[in-house]
Symmetry: C2
Subunit: 271 residues, 2 copies
């Protein structure tokens, strides 16, 4: 499908864009089903939080209109919104009143093997560590070299995702997913106040679990806690939930809470 | 002056470019004097090291030809080269054999007040800390949100640069400069193996100092060592050397070693 810049069909970007120059912006990757952006509200909340943290002056009303209209035309697939701080003056300084640029593109539905969701996946142990930066933690910003480097560590199809630790060795997330453990019936995911991306599906699953009376916990996670977990799964807003059956020498069964939350996620995504 | 993409005049970039999507690339900002890129060799060395670290498949011969030709047309000013990993497939994975994209743009000479070089500058104490990431440390890569956030901390003209510490409180560099201290006749600059950008002027000044028999030291620097230094200055490959006369409550005279290295830098830059 065609790409839009600021609501108009366009296939190219200004060479002065600060997204290119500095990664100065944010993005959202949104599943589209039956012409509608799935979990639109949660994506908008995260985007707004990112704009606030980075002082990006985004026309939020225009974004909503464009997302809904674009999704209507895409109908089924994955929509990507990139928001940048627009064109650069010279150097890092910016005019906080300058309007942000909105870039929309669309792709067909992602094609992953069905076995990822059914039998689960093996996680690659990434050597690339996430650096600690509370100022940017949680945001889906455009500075993604750590993920690029981590994803380049494996090329086989045996590993569907990679596990990333932070510089201090805490278990944080996948390269393009959030991670959950189940221990003694408690659903646990990493504290993302120092690094990591606060995924929309992560937020949805935490909320759904609470509605179901399942205890949830957001905390630091050690490798030992991962290794001794009862269930492990990863999630994102495009593929939903994949059980994790293996990581290095560890193996886990696909557990009942993973299946319950997977059913909820896949109903939302209609997969 | 017009911009070039892969050696051809162009004013727009593919919306699939990985520089935009992930900050997946590198850049060089090069002073141009009398039609020639100043310290071209050092810029090329740093660029090559960056490409090697990020596995970016750059046509280095084409870069040299384009830089020299472009600088010849610009004649006087500042040239910016951005190298990206080219267009994205879907997601973070990349084809390591895919050719990198080369983007060249030019600006007139930077116009800073003469007093910066003559009387020196005051450094703003940035609250934004540099995160520790040995994998990317030293490179002039496109993930520059920390610098964008740091530069946004002050808007007055009283501060010409800002001082950035790392997450552990070590003194590292300016937002767009490297930093040097002089203590007991020794020229000291920060170890950049965990964070920071290995500036071309920093490398040049270290080399020149050694030729002059001045003792040099690359090491961790504490705030206390900064505060009790005999001389402090910042440098980059565009403006050369600015003495630092003040930071928070600290004041320094413009010292003889600063002036000596400034003279060398400004002869190179013809300013």
């Amino acid at each position: 499908m065609e790409t839009w810049v600021d609501g108009q069909p366009a296939d190219a970007l200004s060479l002065k864009d600060r997204g290119l120059a500095y990664g100065d912006g944010l993005f959202e990757t949104i599943a589209v089903r039956d012409g509608f952006p799935v979990m639109l509200d949660r994506h908008l909340v995260r985007l707004a939080r990112g704009c606030q943290r980075l002082t990006i002056n985004l026309d939020h009303e225009a974004v909503v209109t464009e997302l809904v209209t674009y999704a209507g035309q895409l109908n089924e697939g994955v929509l990507k919104l990139i928001v940048t701080r627009g064109d650069s003056l010279r150097g890092y300084a910016f005019d906080p009143s300058a309007p942000a640029r909105r870039i929309l593109s669309g792709n067909p539905p992602a094609a992953y093997p069905e076995s990822h969701a059914e039998q689960g996946i093996r996680l690659f142990p990434c050597a690339t560590r996430l650096s600690l930066q509370p100022l940017l933690a949680g945001l889906k910003h455009l500075n993604r070299l750590e993920q690029v480097m981590a994803r380049a560590e494996w090329r086989d199809s045996e590993h569907a995702e990679g596990l990333m630790l932070d510089q201090d060795g805490r278990v944080i997330e996948g390269v393009f997913s959030n991670l959950f453990l189940v221990r003694d019936g408690v659903l646990i995911t990493a504290d993302l106040s120092r690094c990591g991306v606060e995924g929309v599906m992560r937020a949805e699953l935490l909320s759904q679990a609470e509605s179901l009376g399942i205890a949830t916990q957001i905390s630091d996670i050690t490798l030992e806690q991962l290794q001794t977990a009862d269930e492990v799964f990863v999630c994102n807003s495009v593929y939903g939930v994949w059980p994790v059956h293996a990581y290095a020498d560890c193996h886990w069964p696909v557990g009942p809470l993973t299946r319950k939350l997977q059913t909820i996620a896949h109903a939302l995504l209609d997969v």
